[in-house]
């Protein structure tokens, strides 16, 4: 190998001149192009905010904010339209609550199992399997909830209708499970081994170490994972559209058809609404409400992580 570093006598190695100017110029060009790509992501945010605000202002020039927030009916497609967004929010709340009751305990326990209990070789199979669950498109989950889970649930739950919040919420929970499990597992995995060993040295059992030492130490990451799960549950569309129905009702009964914010948007958008009508603007007013809720959840999660994150060295 060494002789390859010695240039042959007729080599032109000494003629090589670095063209620094050209190198710097090409770097400047690349930096400019990539920088403008980066700016595009800011324009995306601005575009979302501008789109929503623009149409929402038009909506509120015709519907009062008081009616929007406090009316108890949502009938924008009727001849006597009423715009009480709380009806849609209650449905979103119900399906998200059921989903979280499923996804949080299962996701957390699964995260604990993966990081603390599962042997390495089992974990190497379990993690990709859960990732497959995360990769199932939500429309397939919706199909599953409406046509397979609901008929099964109806055999033993009296009064359960074809479209209902229960089956939508349960399957939404299963869809969120991998997200919550994998984000919590990252947080649990990051807790240093010293803490566990310290706990064992004091005579704690494995369960006590996990619930009293490891989980509190990973709390900020776990809470952030749960809040992101809530944001995803609120914004999830296809499962609730297919399985929970299109029936705006102010109720917390999980057995009857309801309409979430997202399924309202789908119902209206599907029907080719003419631009400039109040119906079209309603789409964006509901979108704005949804966006504000998920943004607040996101800020809450950032704040929580920053405030409660434990640093270990």
């Amino acid at each position: 190998m060494t002789d390859s570093y010695l240039p042959p006598e007729h080599s032109s190695a000494n003629l090589w001149q670095p063209n620094r100017e050209a190198s710097k110029r090409s770097q400047a060009i690349v930096k400019f192009i990539f920088g403008s790509f980066a700016v595009l992501s800011i324009f995306t945010t601005l575009g979302i905010v501008a789109t929503l605000i623009f149409e929402t202002i038009k909506f509120f020039s015709q519907v009062s904010l008081v009616q929007f927030l406090f009316d108890n009916q949502w009938t924008p497609l009727f001849s006597q339209p009423r715009y009480g967004i709380f009806v849609l929010i209650s449905a979103t709340f119900l399906t998200s609550l059921i989903a979280l009751l499923v996804a949080v305990p299962l996701g957390l326990l699964a995260a604990v199992c993966l990081s603390e209990y599962a042997p390495r070789n089992v974990r190497a199979w379990l993690k990709p399997a859960l990732e497959i669950l995360a990769g199932v498109p939500t429309v397939v989950f919706g199909f599953f909830a409406l046509l397979i889970v609901t008929p099964i649930l109806r055999t033993f739950i009296p009064g359960l209708q074809t479209f209902n919040g229960l089956s939508a919420g349960l399957i939404l929970g299963i869809a969120l499970l991998p997200t919550i499990a994998s984000l919590s597992e990252d947080a649990i995995f990051a807790v240093p081994q010293d803490l566990r060993q310290g706990s064992y040295a004091l005579g704690a059992t494995k369960r006590e170490t996990v619930t009293d030492v490891v989980l509190p130490a990973a709390l900020s990451g776990i809470v952030a994972a749960i809040i992101l799960g809530v944001a995803r549950a609120v914004g999830e569309t296809m499962i609730v559209t297919l399985a929970a129905g299109q029936n705006p009702t102010l109720t917390l009964d999980p057995r009857v058809p309801i309409q979430t914010m997202t399924s309202f948007i789908v119902q209206v958008a599907k029907g080719d609404v003419p631009v400039g009508t109040l119906k079209y603007d309603t789409l964006f007013a509901v979108g704005m409400t949804l966006f504000v809720i998920t943004l607040l959840l996101n800020i809450l999660s950032f704040w929580f992580v920053r405030k409660f994150q434990e640093k270990y060295e």
Partner: protein
């Protein structure tokens, strides 16, 4: 080791050492229950997944034949097929990849290699993590406003191009984050060595960092793309059609896509269409799972190499 009288450590006569009851039997029992619970939770997710796959296959497999793949949607469930939906999904995939890959990777490189620690980079970082959490249906509203209405002369309205562009915006954060994470994992010594030999930052990135980071970046891109073609809500909002009896002819052509077709068939009351929905789900799951398998394979190989 000399044993000392344990009582010597107790300052207060009132506390007797033998009152401490470790109750090991009970605590170990609780430990077992907890361990079982954690296994049950993990397996529950997988059992539901298995049940979903089995029931979808049972419903859809009888419908899945070559004529199902090559026929157009029809009022007659027996003759309906997914030709236009499958073609639409392939078009969307190509358009989304063509826009999201260069822009996402470029942004990732800019943030990680050129603009570290500037105020601009910090704003971008917060912005990107916010974008990642915006519900996909909101991207649909953005696409409806910007690509369908404002850019109608270019996109042709409710076209496959508008759909692809919307999905590209949707998965940009995924690709940017994956690119950054991969670049972060490349050791700095490589960059320092390159620059010590007189390379510019870009030359180091192009010739040394990117080739090493490519498998990781590709993994992230494939995962992002598989998310994009499974998306339904934004496509419904920008106006994908459910009944398209022709293949897309160009970028401005109106289109359908597999998830849209599944949604449409599932929401019909007739049972025969439900079997079609199951069969189309099998095709979609097949496409997505094979994309994910490629991504996971790439990632594992990449991790083993280092």
């Amino acid at each position: 080791m000399t044993t000392t009288d344990p009582k010597a450590f107790i300052p207060d006569e009132g506390i007797a050492l033998d009152e401490f009851e470790p109750n090991l039997v009970g605590r170990y029992k609780l430990d077992k229950v907890f361990a079982y619970a954690s296994w049950v939770a993990t397996i529950t997710g997988l059992v539901v997944l298995a049940f979903l796959l089995i029931s979808t296959f049972a419903d859809g497999l009888p419908r899945l034949g070559s004529s199902f793949l090559t026929s157009f949607p029809s009022r007659n469930a027996e003759r309906a097929g997914i030709a236009s939906a499958l073609a639409g999904t392939v078009w969307l995939l190509l358009i989304t990849a063509a826009f999201a890959f260069p822009i996402g990777v470029g942004t990732g490189i800019y943030l990680q290699e050129f603009a570290t620690d500037s105020w601009f980079a910090k704003i971008l970082e917060v912005n990107i993590s916010n974008l990642a959490a915006v519900p996909s249906i909101i991207y649909g509203l953005l696409g409806l406003m910007v690509f369908v209405r404002m850019l109608e002369p270019i996109t042709g309205g409710r076209s496959v191009l508008a759909g692809g562009l919307t999905l590209a915006l949707l998965i940009l954060p995924v690709i940017i984050v994956a690119t950054r994470e991969t670049l972060k994992a490349i050791p700095d010594s490589l960059r320092i060595a390159g620059m010590a030999l007189g390379s510019t930052r870009w030359q180091v990135v192009r010739d040394h960092v990117l080739p090493l980071a490519l498998p990781g970046i590709l993994t992230g891109t494939i995962l992002g793309l598989s998310r994009a073609i499974g998306e339904t809500a934004p496509l419904i909002v920008i106006g994908a059609q459910t009944f398209v009896p022709f293949l897309p002819t160009g970028l401005q052509s109106s289109f359908s896509a597999l998830p849209i077709q599944i949604f449409n068939w599932t929401s019909r009351p007739q049972e025969a269409f439900h079997a079609n929905a199951a069969a189309a789900s099998i095709v979609l799951l097949g496409v997505l799972l094979s994309m994910n398998a490629v991504a996971i394979y790439l990632r594992n190989r990449f991790q083993r190499d280092r």
